[in-house]
């Protein structure tokens, strides 16, 4: 399979911040993929597989995230992480 790069924009649900538990779910999902995955918000960029970097984004409810990935399973990573963000509950 070819290396690929994917990117998607998705907003956090209005009442869910990317803090403790939701951030943990996000990072653990990202870790399932071999692709390099990044998430950007509020003008900051984080390695989606690093809990401390993701927490450091300070993304509050409703914030738009830009999820980007590169590598073999980049498309699946972006798709699954986008779906996870949409479905997050507090």
């Amino acid at each position: 399979m070819l290396q690929s790069s994917e990117q998607a924009r998705v907003a956090l649900p209005s009442d869910v911040a990317l803090h403790a538990r939701p951030a943990g779910l996000f990072v653990r999902e990202a870790a399932l993929f071999t692709a390099d995955v990044n998430v950007a918000a509020n003008g900051k960029q984080a390695n989606a597989k690093s809990i401390l970097e993701v927490l450091g984004l300070g993304a509050t409810g409703g914030t738009e995230l830009v999820i980007s990935a590169s590598g073999e399973d980049a498309a699946a990573a972006v798709r699954d992480l986008t779906a996870l963000v949409v479905a997050l509950v507090e």
Binding site: A20, R21, G24, L25, R28, A31, S50, I51, L52
Partner: protein, 138 residues
């Protein structure tokens, strides 16, 4: 090597001067990392005061040094000394299963627990904890 133990995940051992500190950190790490990773603590002095208890630290390290092993995180000063002393009393086979992380206690523990919950090896978990030193908060 993954999935060697009963639950297959590398464990976390917290060594702290304070039971309250270790217990609060355990709660936080569990909330972020989920329920799969076993976290144990050796915290407080022998009489429940602030301090460290060498026997309790040794016991925690022995409990962690099974299966897939564990990563040890320490708060300050004599916690580090008591871990070093306890390591000196372990068998080689136990030592192979433990990694001591030179990391900030809170950030390192959260990073370690999340990394352990992905099925990472003890070396990978310790590395994640140590990388916490370089992650900016602001």
């Amino acid at each position: 090597m993954r999935g060697e133990t009963a639950n297959g995940y590398v464990g976390i051992i917290l060594v702290s001067h304070s039971e309250a500190l270790a217990s609060g950190l355990m709660d936080l790490a569990r909330q972020v990392a989920g329920p799969d990773v076993e976290i144990i603590a050796a915290a407080g002095g022998p009489d429940g005061s602030l301090g460290t208890d060498g026997a309790r630290v040794l016991d925690a390290l022995r409990r962690g040094a099974r299966g897939s092993g564990a990563v040890v995180l320490m708060d300050l000063g004599s916690s580090v000394l008591s871990v070093k002393a306890a390591l000196g009393q372990l068998e080689d086979e136990e030592l192979h299963r433990l990694q001591v992380a030179d990391a900030p206690f809170v950030e390192g523990t959260v990073a370690a627990a999340v990394t352990a919950s992905t099925g990472a090896t003890a070396a990978e978990v310790a590395r994640a904890a140590e990388e916490a030193r370089g992650v900016a908060k602001l």
